[in-house]
């Protein structure tokens, strides 16, 4: 530990414990906000899946379950490296922290690349709602709703992943510059909460969209 506690403590707080618990609570409240933000889309999904379930089953078959499974695996691995990164920062292991934050960012970027290929595939298959949409099967109009929700929800999620990747890179640089040391581990811990949240959202998205058609 090369940084004294009193430089870490913000002036509005009395003790470092107070500051840490305030920071953590703040992040949890922000995540509650995020749950409600995604909640609007999940509500839309629930309404339309109950309204026309068969269309949703049929449309779901057009998503690549294998790619989705790889997405899931990549994100879960990134959560693991994130947890280790927090530990490394706490223990003051500078290079280990940078490595683990970097690996987390790479996993996140990998997720985005795989998803980009999926989007491209769906584009060539004419599954993007709008003028060029084409769907073999009953009720092609309503099938658009499935894909509309799919693109909106996974798009919003990917945006969150992108922000997370940028965050990891910034943190890695800050650790490199010794702006983040063991005394300031809270910054990384809170970023970790965000990252785990983004993963958890995917854990819900994967079955709802990719596995909706599975028997």
């Amino acid at each position: 530990m090369d940084s004294a506690t009193d430089t870490v403590l913000a002036e509005q707080f009395d003790e470092i414990e107070q500051q840490h618990s305030a920071d953590t609570l703040g992040m949890w409240i922000f995540l509650a906000t995020e749950v409600m933000f995604f909640g609007g889309l999940f509500a839309g999904y629930a309404v339309y899946r109950f309204s026309f379930p068969h269309v949703f089953y049929a449309a779901s078959h057009h998503l690549d379950v294998l790619a989705g499974a790889i997405d899931t695996a990549v994100l879960l691995c990134s959560s693991l490296t994130m947890a280790f990164a927090v530990r490394a920062v706490r223990l003051g292991q500078r290079w280990m922290s940078i490595l683990l934050l970097g690996v987390t960012a790479v996993f996140g970027a990998g997720f985005l690349v795989i998803h980009g290929f999926e989007y491209h595939h769906e584009w060539t298959e004419h599954l993007v709602p709008g003028g060029s949409f084409a769907f073999e099967g009953a009720d092609p109009h309503r099938a658009q709703m499935f894909f509309w929700l799919y693109f909106a929800t996974t798009g919003l999620h990917s945006l969150h992943v992108l922000i997370g990747v940028a965050l990891m890179l910034v943190l890695a640089v800050l650790v490199l510059l010794e702006k983040i040391t063991a005394a300031r581990f809270m910054t990384v811990e809170i970023a970790g909460l965000y990252w785990h949240f983004v993963d958890v959202v995917w854990v819900f998205l994967f079955p709802l969209y990719y596995l909706a058609g599975a028997r």
Binding site: T33, G40, A43, S51, P129, G131
Partner: protein, 545 residues
């Protein structure tokens, strides 16, 4: 004799204001900003009232009229009422009420103001480039498909401004949880803190739903198809569900803080403890929670099933229980108090009367059958203006007068204050009471022309609005006047309890020289003298400094 620490107003540079982390300065930045939005929205209202003097649509076209009520609604709701008490008075007072040096996240607090400005700029951009004609509710499919106005930029402005209220809510919640002075247990918190906490809960949990709803509507407008689009099986009523899931709780963002302020005013100016402290505090939380399950009462005629209509009707009725508890407890607090009719108290008493009328007429609207008769009429307009203007704006004005000496170190002129409070009360009732009658007789809202038999009531209403305008202009002028010529205020001019009054006026940057220790319940006014009860020297005595 120690040297007084510098007042938070001591530094004068623009930079010291624009980069400040001080919750008090941020409160003032918000105050200046919302005054601008209030002025613009008031001009829109004035133009509407002038148009409605005659039955023919002779001043503006119906299209312009649509844009006027949209800009009035959008600006008043999101850029004035929602930030009014929380972001202005709350920012200023809440940390001091807790005995804290600042909010938990001062930098985020400043960021919230910049986000608010960004949202405001987007809204004003839409206004300058021709406005929006959807009404503040942005109902689909009109907003997503048919309207030819600047819907997206306006929705973006509301979307962005929403994040400023999310940040404020988060900041307040963490501050209340983590930054209370030693001894300041939850049930020793002033009731304004309770109501701001309940408000924050709504800001944090409901605002993101509005954000995603407006985003989905905007994407649908750009993309051409979308989740609310019947062409692909979408349901426009889903938009209404999501919109009101936010906007009904938002109504409580626009009244709960007012209730908190009134609890402070009533106790101080009747020199009594609040009657039933626990009930008033719990009522705030109950209103916040119940507010999340009543949104369907906005859709009784929108094609929602009759069974959900019944449920929403019953649940809406239940909100009247905690609301009535508050009114009864304020009244009981007044009973046998030694009441003084200072300006803030006049506003508080006005609040109780007008809120009661607004609340009772809310019951008419929550009743399924009656609602069918008065849906989308002036009855609804009058009802929510009684809550939002008669309630929230009265409370905001009362609070602003009450804390003005703390904020500026100067007293406002008392006679002019009382006069303005009276003019506001009279003007308000003359503006909006006739609208109850108009609505009951069948005058629909949002029309710029109407059958001649309604003209009498419209003229009354417009006359009232001009009086109301004077009632708002007057405080604006004497507040400015008082900054230079007002009597210098002491630390505690009202002899009120509450930690914010233990600081000098205006307070130093970090509020308290030494973190105060709290040993008793709030509103500890002595039953005999009405003065603050003496306590065993634990609380910091600033008068001795």
């Amino acid at each position: 004799m120690k040297l007084q620490p510098q007042s938070y107003l001591a530094e004068h540079t623009v930079r010291s204001w624009l980069l400040t982390h001080d919750h008090k300065r941020i409160g003032i930045l918000y105050l200046l900003t919302i005054i601008v939005f209030f002025a613009i929205a008031s001009v829109a209202a004035a133009l509407m009232r002038i148009e409605l003097v005659t039955p023919q649509g002779d001043l503006v076209t119906s299209e312009t009229y649509n844009k006027l009520f949209t800009i009035h609604g959008v600006l008043m709701v999101w850029f004035f009422l929602i930030p009014s008490i929380p972001a202005v008075l709350g920012n200023f007072i809440l940390p001091m009420m807790l005995g804290a040096r600042d909010v938990a996240f001062p930098r985020l607090n400043l960021l919230s103001w910049y986000i608010f400005i960004a949202g405001g700029v987007l809204a004003l951009w839409s206004l300058i480039h021709g406005g929006v004609d959807t009404g503040w509710t942005f109902y689909t499919p009109y907003s997503s498909t048919y309207s030819n106005s600047h819907v997206i930029s306006m929705a973006a402005g509301v979307f962005v401004a929403g994040f400023s209220s999310i940040i404020t809510g988060m900041n307040f919640m963490v501050t209340v949880h983590k930054m209370r002075a030693p001894g300041l247990r939850w049930f020793r918190l002033p009731l304004l803190v309770w109501s701001l906490y309940a408000t924050s809960l709504i800001m944090v949990l409901a605002t993101p739903v509005l954000a995603i709803t407006l985003a989905l509507m905007s994407v649908e407008r750009v993309w051409g198809v979308g989740i609310f689009d019947p062409k692909i099986g979408g349901d426009p009523v889903l938009f209404q569900h999501l919109f009101w899931f936010y906007s009904h709780p938002a109504v409580y963002i626009m009244i709960l803080p007012g209730m908190g302020v009134v609890s402070e005013l009533i106790t101080c100016f009747s020199r009594r403890r609040i009657f039933g402290y626990g009930y008033v505090a719990a009522a705030s939380m109950a209103i916040a929670v119940l507010g999340f399950v009543v949104w369907g009462h906005h859709m009784f005629v929108a094609g929602q099933s009759v069974y959900s209509g019944m449920m929403f009707s019953i649940l809406s009725y239940m909100v009247s229980i905690p609301s009535a508890i508050k009114v009864f407890n304020w009244t009981a607090t007044l009973h046998k108090g030694s009441i003084s009719f200072a300006t803030p108290m006049l506003y508080a008493l006005g609040f109780i009367g007008l809120f009661t009328i607004g609340g009772l007429t809310g019951l008419f609207l929550a009743a399924l059958a009656v609602d069918v008769h008065v849906t989308d009429t002036y009855f609804v307009v009058a009802h929510f203006h009684y809550i939002m203007v008669g309630g929230m704006v009265m409370a905001f004005m009362g609070g602003l007068h009450y804390w003005w000496p703390k904020i500026t170190g100067r007293m406002y002129p008392e006679f002019a204050g009382k006069l303005a409070a009276m003019i506001t009360f009279i003007g308000f009732n003359l503006t909006f009471f006739p609208q109850f009658i108009l609505g009951y007789l069948g005058m629909p809202r949002r029309y710029h022309a109407y059958p001649p038999e309604f003209q009498f009531f419209h003229i009354l209403s417009t006359a009232g609005a001009s009086i109301l305008g004077v009632g708002y202009l007057l405080p604006f002028l004497y507040f400015l006047w008082s900054l230079k010529w007002g009597r210098v205020a002491s630390g505690n001019p009202w002899e009120a309890t509450g930690l914010e009054w233990q600081t000098p006026s205006p307070p130093p940057t970090h509020n308290f020289e030494k973190t105060p220790v709290v040993t008793r319940e709030p509103y500890a006014y002595d039953a005999v003298t009405g003065k603050e009860e003496p306590q065993e020297g634990l609380m910091q005595q600033t008068s001795a400094v």
